[in-house]
């Protein structure tokens, strides 16, 4: 059964740039898909197509059971969009913004008013409700933007880089809101450049680069593709590098790698914390003084670099 968001073969070109080059997506109902990619990868274009803002050159898309190309207005009733830029009217108060959006979702004036109060309360904006959005902090604007997307509690949500530019505290707070939403059964497509964010929020991840999906799976599956855990040791004295390398060669499972200038030795391992303890004991026995040691698991950053050959954020400019 196709998911709440289902797209096949989406192509969109701008001049000679293929912003989308045959993208397939499927997001089962009630789950979160993280669309991960560098700037200019095609994430925003994909969201714009799925939210009826842009017509693709070819391909099909169904959102909430409705064909996006054939029946865009029907789709608009079932979706909420929270954009990369907080799209609120800064000269209107928080309350006026939400009331307006409610009325444009075709709610009656009274219902829109009640819903606005409810959302302002829920997003911690009740005190600022009657101030113009111009006076809001970045985090407050983002919350207001998200509240605007939730006015009709749409079953399908799209968030285009929801936490870009937010400080860690506000990012954490927004993550909590998003998790609450998903727990309530909302299907969510989220784009992000933050690997941590996708790791944290998404059930499934699609890595997209230059308009193509280059990998998909759960966070664990993607990490497994880049290899498992490894032990990293930084020795105190340069002369000890050889000794440390020998220890790791014996206990590790694979090639050791040495970085002379940082005095760092790395080896893939199997066995986790227990093995790490063993390495520490062995190094201690040999009298190797260490500055740092740790068990590292691959991050989505590592995944990204191994898939694209460049880090996130180093793609072509938009």
């Amino acid at each position: 059964m196709p998911g709440a968001i289902h797209a096949e073969g989406l192509v969109k070109t701008f001049g000679d740039v293929r912003a989308l080059d045959g993208v397939d997506l499927d997001v089962p109902e009630g789950t979160v898909l993280g669309l991960l990619g560098p700037n200019g990868a095609g994430k925003t274009t994909a969201v714009r197509v799925l939210t009826t803002l842009l017509r693709p050159d070819s391909g099909t898309a169904v959102v909430a059971g409705v064909d996006v190309l054939k029946n865009p207005n029907e789709v608009r009733r079932s979706i909420g969009l929270s954009g990369q830029f907080a799209a609120v009217d800064e000269y209107l108060t928080g309350r006026e913004n939400l009331q307006m959006v409610g009325q444009l979702y075709q709610m009656g004036a009274r219902a829109a008013k009640a819903r606005a109060s409810e959302l302002l309360e829920r997003f911690g904006l009740a005190e600022a409700a009657d101030r113009t959005a111009k006076t809001y902090s970045g985090g407050m604007r983002r919350r207001l933007d998200l509240a605007a997307a939730l006015v009709v509690s749409p079953p399908v949500m799209f968030m285009d880089e929801p936490t870009t530019g937010l400080d860690p505290r506000n990012r954490q707070a927004l993550w909590e809101v998003i998790q609450e939403l998903v727990a309530g059964g909302t299907t969510l497509l989220l784009t992000t450049q933050y690997l941590e964010e996708a790791d944290h929020l998404a059930h499934d991840i699609c890595v997209i680069d230059r308009g193509r999906v280059i990998a998909r799976g759960t966070s664990d599956q993607l990490k497994a593709r880049t290899g498992g855990e490894r032990v990293e040791v930084v020795v105190h004295e340069r002369e000890d590098i050889a000794a440390a390398e020998e220890v790791l060669r014996v206990l590790g499972k694979g090639e050791t790698a040495v970085q002379e200038h940082t005095r760092k030795v790395v080896v893939p391992v199997v066995g986790g914390a227990k093995l790490l303890a063993e390495v520490i004991r062995e190094l201690d026995t040999r009298g190797v003084e260490i500055d740092d040691i740790g068990l590292r698991r691959p991050t989505l950053d590592d995944v990204f670099i191994s898939l694209t050959g460049h880090g996130a954020g180093k793609g072509e400019a938009k």
Binding site: N73, R76, F85, D89
Partner: protein, 268 residues
């Protein structure tokens, strides 16, 4: 989903914005008032209308021209407002909502119409203060005078649709402001608004006499009983009220169609 109710929601939003940025409304008033005063006192003494160089004649001739120019300047406001909405991502939000397609633009033009009405009221008072007297040349009545203002508002409304198209077509609000204004200078000056078009070289006079803008000015002079009516045989000068109505309706139909089409594919 109704175009009218959605348009009213958007119009209300734009009117609230105007109350939050009163300086914008104020500047919109200062400029035409300045024109009235400058033209009346600087040019007033040296302008020849028909055979008269009487400053009182020019003053009464001038007002319809200033009124008409003022209403067309609403174009720039509409264009800049819509360009700003695009720039800020608000148009994306509106386009993702289940609302009537033309409502964002229609709502904006409604709000501009309210502002234009306010401006015209202030301007009419200033005009009366400096000595404009409806019925100066021909007799008139309240109905005719209101009819004249109605034609002015219709012209202003039509021009905001041109502004809407400009706002959707440019990349920045700044470009919309200047792009919305510059072409208005030739349109409003190559006309009968400030000088007697009979004194222009023939080819320029033809343009002036067929200029849609001139039709409204001529219609207002006729309805207000102002001096300096063009006696040209050109059809819009002979039937200015009809010409004004037809021109404004045509501008609305053409530019509304183009602007709404542009809106549907608008990208920030």
């Amino acid at each position: 989903m109704s175009t009218m109710s959605d348009s009213l929601v958007i119009a209300r939003r734009n009117l609230i914005r105007m109350t939050r940025i009163p300086e914008m409304v104020l500047f919109g008033l200062v400029q035409p008032v300045m024109f009235v005063v400058l033209f009346t006192y600087v040019f007033g003494g040296s302008m020849k209308i028909g055979d008269s160089t009487d400053p009182d004649v020019y003053k009464n001739f001038l007002m319809a021209g200033i009124f008409a120019q003022t209403v067309t300047f609403a174009t720039a406001g509409a264009g800049a407002g819509i360009a700003e909405d695009m720039h800020k991502g608000l148009i994306d939000r509106f386009r993702s909502l289940p609302m009537a397609r033309g409502a964002v633009l229609t709502g904006r033009t409604f709000a501009d119409l309210v502002q234009t009405t306010l401006t015209l009221v202030v301007l009419a008072v200033v005009a009366l203060i400096v000595g404009w007297r409806p019925g100066f040349a021909e007799s008139t009545n309240v109905g005719k005078i209101l009819g004249g203002f109605g034609l002015l508002l219709l012209l202003g409304y039509a021009f905001t649709w041109i502004g809407a198209l400009i706002g959707l077509s440019v990349r920045t609000p700044e470009a919309a402001t200047s792009g919305g204004l510059i072409w208005l200078f030739p349109v409003t000056f190559i006309s009968n608004a400030f000088v007697d078009s009979r004194q222009m070289t023939p080819w320029l006079r033809h343009i002036a006499e067929w200029n849609p803008f001139s039709a409204t000015v001529q219609a207002c002079r006729e309805l207000f009983g102002d001096p300096g009516l063009s006696s040209s045989g050109a059809w819009p000068m002979q039937h200015p009220v009809w010409a004004s109505l037809i021109y404004s309706a045509l501008i609305i139909v053409v530019f509304r169609t183009l602007a709404v089409r542009k809106y549907r594919s608008a990208t920030a």
